[in-house]
Symmetry: C2
Subunit: 339 residues, 2 copies
């Protein structure tokens, strides 16, 4: 019998894909040649499939559109790039309600407007399953390109915001009974919320991920002030597949290890309440928080977390290939069952 | 009851899409801002779905890959652009044989190598239906950008090669009995072929479309020699949806009419044999020949057809909004049934 996609799994399948790909693959987006002499173009693409990546059960069509845009924009931010434009192809069964696809476009556009970019083209085709394929382009000054393979021993590891909240939102959307656990006021961001407002705010972490261009703009600002070109090696990626996965991938690509400051790794209160014993699992492996996990010189990291209130220093890059205490499993294998 | 995609049809659906899109949409690819000061970047995207755009019955996986690349590269050529790179997202059911997707990648890469470009990134996801989403980027000197809306009264209409052959290939692949009609030697391109070789050569028009970068390179060469910048307004598009559709779309976008030189419009011998009474229908509405339909100054057109042996002058742009004798129906409505 011939081997199937199920037999191989996603990682092996990607290896096959890479045999046919130029050697730029491996980061959140591909850096693909120069535009202006000191600028680099980056491009990223994602396919989202009904029943696999979104569901009417947990995600309104507006949110499907927002997520489709945000996931790709986050990949640009993860490369340090500013968005330049997006294209989207849509596959639709003939019985799809027009209202559904209009709402998807509306959510998609809303996200693009929020981050100052636009849809420049696309395709609409017939398909037995609702499918969105998005490609996003961005540009970055060459020396500000953020990649995974450049982390250096001694670098400080910073994350731009909390982890586990997207998972918390998803679990609430899938399981209404969990709401019973949320009877006390809880601080979400800068606000203390209760009841429906609290539920809505948590769900939103899953439904409306935020690409962290604010972090990229801050890095740019710090860099402009300092003018220390050589100190501006920032490595990293986004945490779309989980915080643990991001750290593991950076370490693997850079051939280094990491020490995590476990006592400084924040576990959001709502995650503690909802997940109980498994709270740390949600933080490490929950996925889809779309924060940035960045490695940089300690001085730069200190300035960064001072000016970005949500950012936290969570560890450092060390020699070796171990990550202390972190189970090196991928949080989500597309072709396997979810756990 | 709510309106569905089936109720609206493709054209109306595209109108909705365009409400959310920047105003560059309408050509084969989107022109999306400058790279170097005198260069324009163009981008195009297509989604290909198993059972809709390809089938194991007519297309080997290598050919599925080739076609996925060629269709997008043809859109770049139709804008006058040179390819810069492509990304491809692939959606696969878990029971897809690895050999199938490897063959798709192989065919895709072969096409990219042939036209001097490369795959720079992609995504692989689970989907209930085999789906390929390809995005291609290219660059073009700003004054050499080819668009649909710039055709001028008096322009000569040129096509870069024969039409109806892709349809002939498809019909042969779908209906083996048609082979009985091909018992005499027939000239295909520069060769006279017979038997299996003839069948294979015709099928290949369907399986392995050729993006016409040779035509774009020739236009560039003629332009370099002439240095008549103002004469180099070439309008047009590719004939992916049929020759008739291309002429109609150019006329509509440019608000002009067209006179077709019916006596000069070539009907390939093999199309005459296979289609009989319907031969002209195949030429006009067969689709998927991926030739370029270009409108340009008569002098430029004469030089062009002299140097590109496959190219033919087939008409001229006239005032009004009529195309003499051409039924203005679209050859292929994605959401309707094929005729």
């Amino acid at each position: 019998m011939s081997a199937t996609v199920r037999d191989l799994g996603e990682q092996e399948l990607l290896k096959i894909f890479r045999q046919y790909c130029s050697d730029v693959v491996g980061d959140d987006a591909a850096a693909m040649g120069s535009t202006l002499p000191d600028r680099q173009m980056v491009v990223t693409t994602d396919m989202l499939v009904d029943g696999v990546h979104f569901s009417d059960r947990t995600t309104s069509p507006e949110d499907v559109g927002w997520r489709a845009a945000a996931v790709n924009l986050s990949d640009l931010a993860a490369m340090g790039a500013q968005p330049w434009g997006l294209v989207m192809s849509v596959g639709l069964p003939p019985d799809t309600e027009i209202a559904w696809i209009e709402s998807v476009y509306r959510g998609f556009s809303e996200c693009l407007r929020t981050y100052g970019t636009e849809l420049v083209g696309g395709d609409t085709v017939r398909s037995p399953v609702r499918t969105l394929a998005v490609t996003a382009f961005g540009q970055v000054a060459k020396h500000q390109l953020i990649q995974r393979h450049t982390a250096r021993v001694g670098d400080t590891i910073v994350m731009t915001g909390l982890h586990g909240l997207s998972k918390a939102g998803l679990e609430l959307l899938l399981n209404e009974q969990l709401e019973e656990k949320l009877l006390v006021p809880i601080k979400i961001g800068d606000q203390v919320l209760l009841g429906k407002q609290l539920i809505k705010a948590i769900s939103r972490y899953h439904q409306r991920p935020v690409p962290r261009f604010d972090a990229i703009n801050l890095l740019d600002k710090i860099f402009q002030q300092q003018n220390h070109l050589s100190d501006f090696v920032v490595s990293g990626m986004d945490s779309s597949d989980g915080l643990a996965d991001a750290i593991a991938q950076i370490c693997r690509a850079s051939n280094v290890g990491a020490k995590i400051y476990w006592d400084k790794l924040p576990v959001p209160e709502v995650v503690e309440i909802l997940a109980g014993d498994r709270a740390l699992d949600w933080v490490l492996y929950g996925g889809e928080d779309f924060e940035l996990v960045l490695c940089m010189h300690f001085e730069l990291a200190e300035q960064f977390v001072q000016q970005l209130s949500s950012a936290v220093i969570i560890g450092e890059i060390i020699e070796g290939n171990q990550i202390d205490g972190l189970e090196m499993r991928s949080a989500f294998q597309h072709f396997a069952n979810k756990d």
